[in-house]
Amino acid sequence: METRAFQKIYTKITQITKATCSLQATGVGNEELAMVHGRLAQVVKIAGDNVTLQIFSGTEGIPTNAEVVFFNKPPTIKVSDELAGRFFNAFGQPIDGGPEIEGEEREIGGPSVNPVRRKQPSELIATGIAGIDLNNTLVTGQKIPFFADPDQPFNQVMAMVALRAKADKIILGGMGLTNDDYLFYKNVFDNAGALDRIISFVNTTEDPPVERLLVPDMALTAAEYFAVDKKEKVLVLLTDMTLWADALSIVSNRMDQIPSKDSMPGSLYSDLAKLYEKAVQFPDGGSITIIAVTTLSGGDITHAIPDNTGYITEGQLFLRRDTEIGKVIVDPFRSLSRLKQLVIGKKTREDHPQVMNAAVRLYADAANARTKLENGFDLTDYDQRTLSFSKEYSEKILAIDVNIDTEQMLVTTWDLFATHFSEAEVGLKKELVDKYWPGKN
């Protein structure tokens, strides 16, 4: 960012910590950007004339007589159609060798949508993955994370979902992405010929961690431009939100804030909500859908980051390796899409809700039978049948490499019911059984 003429230059820094520095300055606004010794910084605290700045790339080597210039504005991004197909860093500067973006300059992290101006989400996002479409249907305007351990293939699944989702724009916010994963996304999108509808804001593991705090706001402000001004369907991918929250805790720690659970700042819930709540469906067709990744440590969802996330997002998706079939499945027990009720049985076939629940219930019975088996007990005939059902159900429905439409998923599930169970055991509404039970018509 260039400096302008007649700007006041300060040269006396009074305090330096690992992430912040302070100086005497007047006429400075809260959250304003500044340049300290050639590094971008943001005002985080004002006490009289004493201004504290957070230096995004760290304070290593900053001298007490460093030049400090205030920009008189918060972080911004220039928005226009030129964004499409481009790659940027956390400050919105191009990293793909292309030219600077010309367009309207907008503050990032702007105000919230008035809730009465929202529309209830009602448009289904088809992914072809039954663990999602059948059991945890996604809807435009929804926000949902993958809760995954670092070794799980969440980036692959997310890229697959993004490409199949038929969005007008896909905006990738990469936080602490390894260079390999960054190149993976780039290649997948490129190979799919989708690069012209993708916009990426990337902070890799090579960049300073505090910088990544800006990434989601950059991505979401760009998303708001396309969803509000251009009335487009925008899908925002945020990976990895755990690393974003870690950066947040670094800053709050340096600011001497009292940490709450798991060393996270007490404001973690609000900070996460401000991002996730940017997901919205507008009445005129524009929408922002957010799919995020929150990596877990040893599958622990009671840690403050996944816990707060779960209270904000509209469900969560879990991946799990099913050892019976040797494939990754979308876990039907722990995964949940809260907005599925808005579309299943309405935008999909009428039997969808009941079939989905019955299958999961029987799958749960199989899990109980497996426990019995492990404890050395004899299995009843019913137990045996649930086991064979669950194996087929995993293979034909839950595995993430299955790519079929929802109607086909329902047909397959009815077939499995009829193969393994009696009508009473499945326990569905009679009118549905009469209509869909294989061999009844």
Binding site: S112, Q120, Y311, G376, T380
Partner: protein, 590 residues
Amino acid sequence: MSTKSNLTVGKVTGIIANLVIVEVHNPVSQNEICYINHEGTDLMAEIIKVMGNKAYVQVFESTRGLKPGSVVEFRGHMLEATLGPGILSRNYDGLQHDLDVMEGVFLKRGNYTRALDHEKLWDFKPLAKAGDKVEAGDWLGEVQENSIPHKIMVPFVFGGNYTVKSVVKAGQHKIDDTIAILTDVKGQEVKVTMVQKWPVKKAIRAFREKPRPFKLLETGVRTIDTLNPIVEGGTGFIPGPFGSGKTVLQHAISKQAEADIVVVAACGERANEVVELFTEFPELEDPRTGRKLMERTIIIANTSNMPVAAREASVYTAMTLAEYYRAMGLKILLLADSTSRWAQALREMSNRMEELPGPDAFPMDLPAIISNFYSRAGFVYLNNGKSGSITFIGTVSPAGGNLKEPVTESTKKAARAFYALSQQRADSKRYPAIDPIDSYSKYLEYPELQEYLMKNIAEDWVENVMLLKNILIRGKEASEQINILGDDGVPLDYHLTYWKSEVLDSVILQQDAFDQIDANCPMERQKYMLYKVLEVYNAEFSFEGFEEVNPYFKRMINQLRQMNYLSFESDEFAQNEKEFHKIIKERRVA
């Protein structure tokens, strides 16, 4: 109250997120409201601490761009709700600004809209007459608001006794018109309009007495009404980890409960959940009156992305509106989802003020704040002998699903009914996931309520409900034994005990909130199902071996569940009932 000309003025000297430090040299009071002028926009704020000539204020807006030196005007009053006809059906933010009349897609800072329509004409009917002795909260007249007779009362801030000098005749009036003139004990005349203000953090006490609640409040949710009932004027809370169905349950209660008015405070929760209310309530009908649900509903929305400081205000605003309508002799149901977010807002502020933290960094006085708030609910007799009530049900979002955290523990001390949502039940899709064994309703022990239930439902009702609880506990024990010893390692009786409790669980506890018929189960029908379940429980069945037990009871459960989906006492229902009796006969020996 001060007028515009002699306002106390200060200036901003420090900013840390939404905590702003203001230098002020004239008297100010704790919780006083002030406005910070930022480049022509007024940002509303509240004093939360005073140190020497520095007032610490929490700003109900983003403070981005705010500079030291900005002028602050103090208003001489605390945060107030505006009370008058026209509150029903509105969608407010946490500070009672009307969201519908705000311009633009995005919320603009300082865009403060008025709570009421000041131009609308109301048909006023006098209820008091010249010479009447009145005090705060007494009814002077009424207007028709939707289907509610909205009482125009002596303002709550009026202390002592007054005599009515005059009340205007029946006719059309705007809310700011003078509708009555009262004289106080010194003979001074005061004018009364249809609108009044009240500081939200203070309870409105314009009633004669607050007896123990004794009347059942039907919610249509079987596991609540039958097993752990809530009462008119009672307090309850629903803690549960995410995904256990807190919001679905609260929405079901808000749709079905037998209340005159429902106030929903969406406090720091998802915007799409509020949008669901905005979308559905104008369409759905109140099962009791046939009118649209929105007509009896007030929504206070401070969604999780709206300013944090207004989150605390939102629950108080909601409670004050509820108290206002209670004083009209109405039955109010107040729902807050979730009170944990409000506690977190308190924690954020306490942290910024560098107060010494209590458990989990929450402020030390959290339990006091919570219990004080819950105590504002209740059943009351008004000065004129009529009754009114506020039933309050809050949800709690315990961090990590752990019920030993400070908000849950503090709430447990304050609320009388406890509906614990269980992750395990939610995982096995047994909705609503209220744990029948951990949950309780203290009201069930109230002789007042027991008497009411025996009189209005059945002589043996309370006894039977206690029996249900026993069946569940025994079923759980049997299931644990079967899991430990194996199906063939336990006597056949264990299987029967377990499956009889499964019948109860499947048919009474579980309920499909998304099925048109099953979602709302009237008391009469709950009574019917309870006796069906007891019929199964009291029957003795004969089986050759445990293998026969499971399929038999599955069939029976299936049959009873089908009945839950059918219109009560329809032909099909009767048909299914016959089927059920056939199934019972197959195996019954006594």
